[in-house]
Amino acid sequence: MSAVAVGQSARPHGKLRSLRRVSARVSVHLVLLVICAIWLVPTLSLLASSLRPAALLLSSGWWHVFDSPSQLTVANFRQVLEGGQLGQSFVNSLAIVIPVTAVTVLLGGIAGYVFAWLPFPGERLIVVVLVALLGLPVQVTLVPVLQLFSRLHLAGHFAAAWIAYAGYTLPFAIYLMRSFFRRIPREIIEAAQVDSASAVKICLRVAMPMAAPALASLATLVFVWTWNDLLVSLVYVGSGPDVAPMPVTIANLIGSQGTGLELLAAGAVISLLLPVAVFFALQRYFVRGIVAGAVKG
């Protein structure tokens, strides 16, 4: 084959290649654009619906919000927060989630430290049991735990949610913190022991501060999980107006015919403000936690 022939055949071939390159680049953007659009629309539709007057909500789709932006109103939010059941549920949610997060992080941190640094007989067996409990479907515990709470007169109170959520999340918390504490260099713990610091002090004042990033991951994750959970609250705390957290109240409102869609939308927006704020503000910790949380199933 002569040099000329090679040159002639190479050029159209190169053009074709670059054309294919361009179309490949375009299709990459196109696919991502479509996926992002589908992923954005539900959130947008909820936001738009929560800002529209009730009458309009039932007569036209949420996208008509762009036709007349002047009709946007915060009336739905005002109604939800003033005296409504949803405003009360927001406080109830906080009263469940914050103590659960505090207790789980503290107990998980201490237990994780024990498993990493205070050897005791039977440790390996207990770790195996804990790992097995990580993925236990909560359903398999519902009936007996509810019977237990009823006997102790805890059912329908925040205390039931505190105990249940802390207990359900602890195997994961211990597992996560144990693997973190095992990476602390032995010298640091031994140096503190030589300084004859007490065992409690070494755990709380030396090891815990070093674990701050892992504790932050754990805290954001427990917060978001507990805030979003429906089933456990539904069964142990129930729908009482003075105890029901947001997911339970919203689920009940959907079921009842009397509640307007506009209040439901506003309530749902309020319920996702905190976890979404946590997602953006503490993204690094949240992502690390939730990826580690894949073991929880």
Partner: protein
């Protein structure tokens, strides 16, 4: 001050303080009384609060559920495996298993495909951070709030009236002659419609796990293959994909477990009506609507048995991924 605020303060401040006080008191007791045995007693005292909670809400109830599953509706008589036989023979329960099987096949498949697609494509664009945030933000949104959103999407109005549901309005706009569908009622679509809500909420986790795996692949290796003239498809098929297999295993098993346990979406969106009931929602209604404790516990145990092998596979996949 309202009772809720009081409880909030009590729970937030006093519970952790009480736990620290317990720790200090236990340590004092260890040092005073145990002497040389302090080292062997301490771990148990420190673990005690966590163990009491775990034993109380996980270990004891698990055993009790197995026991109750072998008894009748109000737990007054022994019935052997009758409840378990009912799960696999009663037509309405078999229907529930079939719907759950649909979840177990479709949800993980969709999550894996979309997770892989987004993880690989996001790696090639400049707006990766924004797009990734859009796809993963639902991982922080509750299933309940997500379900409210999707009810707005699936809203159905009879033909001839304005469609205010996003999906029907969209399809009507792009397809001439499209007849609006009752997505959540029509049994040809409703389970797929529900599964897609799960996909929307769950793909973010798959994207996060797979994206981390994509970033872990050596850039030099990919560049070398491209310089050697390998097509993008071959680069993906022969270099990226084998490296992603362990992470895909984690995503697959995690999604299967989520599909087996799905509750919130079905409970909130359809309440299990129109043949959308799954194992977890049926277990809930057996106990709390029909007071059939024996059957409810048997369903829960079946749920556990279904999850267990996948969980073991999940552990193995995680170990492989960590090793890599």
């Amino acid at each position: 001050m309202s009772r809720q605020l009081l409880d909030l303060i009590l729970g937030t401040a006093l519970l952790p303080l009480g736990l620290v006080a317990y720790l200090v008191a236990a340590e004092g007791a260890v040092l005073r009384h145990a002497g040389r045995r302090a080292g062997s007693l301490r771990p148990w005292l420190w673990l005690a609060p966590a163990f009491v909670l775990i034993a109380g809400v996980l270990v004891y109830p698990l055993l009790k559920s197995v026991y109750l599953s072998l008894r009748n509706a109000d737990s007054t008589a022994w019935v052997g495996f009758k409840n378990y036989r009912a799960i696999f023979t009663d037509p309405s329960l078999v229907a529930v298993l079939k719907v759950n099987a649909l979840w177990i096949v479709i949800f993980p498949l969709a999550a894996v495909v979309l997770g892989l697609l987004t993880a690989v494509l996001l790696d090639r664009v400049r707006y990766e951070r924004v797009a990734k945030a859009i796809i993963t933000v639902p991982t922080a949104i509750s299933f309940v709030a997500g379900s409210v959103m999707w009810r707005l999407i699936y809203t159905y109005n009879p033909p001839g009236t304005p469609q205010i549901g996003t999906l029907n309005a969209f399809l009507k706009a792009i397809l001439p002659g499209f007849v609006p569908k009752a997505w959540l009622i029509d049994q040809r679509f409703n389970n797929y419609a529900l599964i897609f809500v799960g996909v929307w909420l769950g793909t973010g986790l798959a994207t996060l796990i797979l994206s981390a795996a994509v970033k872990g692949i050596s850039r030099e290796l990919l560049e070398a293959a491209r310089i050697d003239g390998a097509s993008e498809w071959r680069v993906f098929r022969y270099i990226m994909f084998p490296e992603l297999v362990p992470a895909l295993g984690v995503v697959m098993t995690t999604s299967v477990i989520a599909a087996i346990k799905v509750f919130d979406i079905v409970y909130v969106v359809t309440g299990g009506n129109y043949n959308t009931d799954v194992i977890a929602t049926r277990m809930y209604s057996e106990q709390f609507a029909y007071q059939n404790t024996g059957l409810a516990c048997a369903i829960a145990v079946v749920l556990l048995l279904a999850v267990t092998p996948v969980l073991l596979a999940n552990r193995a996949a995680l170990r492989r991924e960590v090793a890599q």
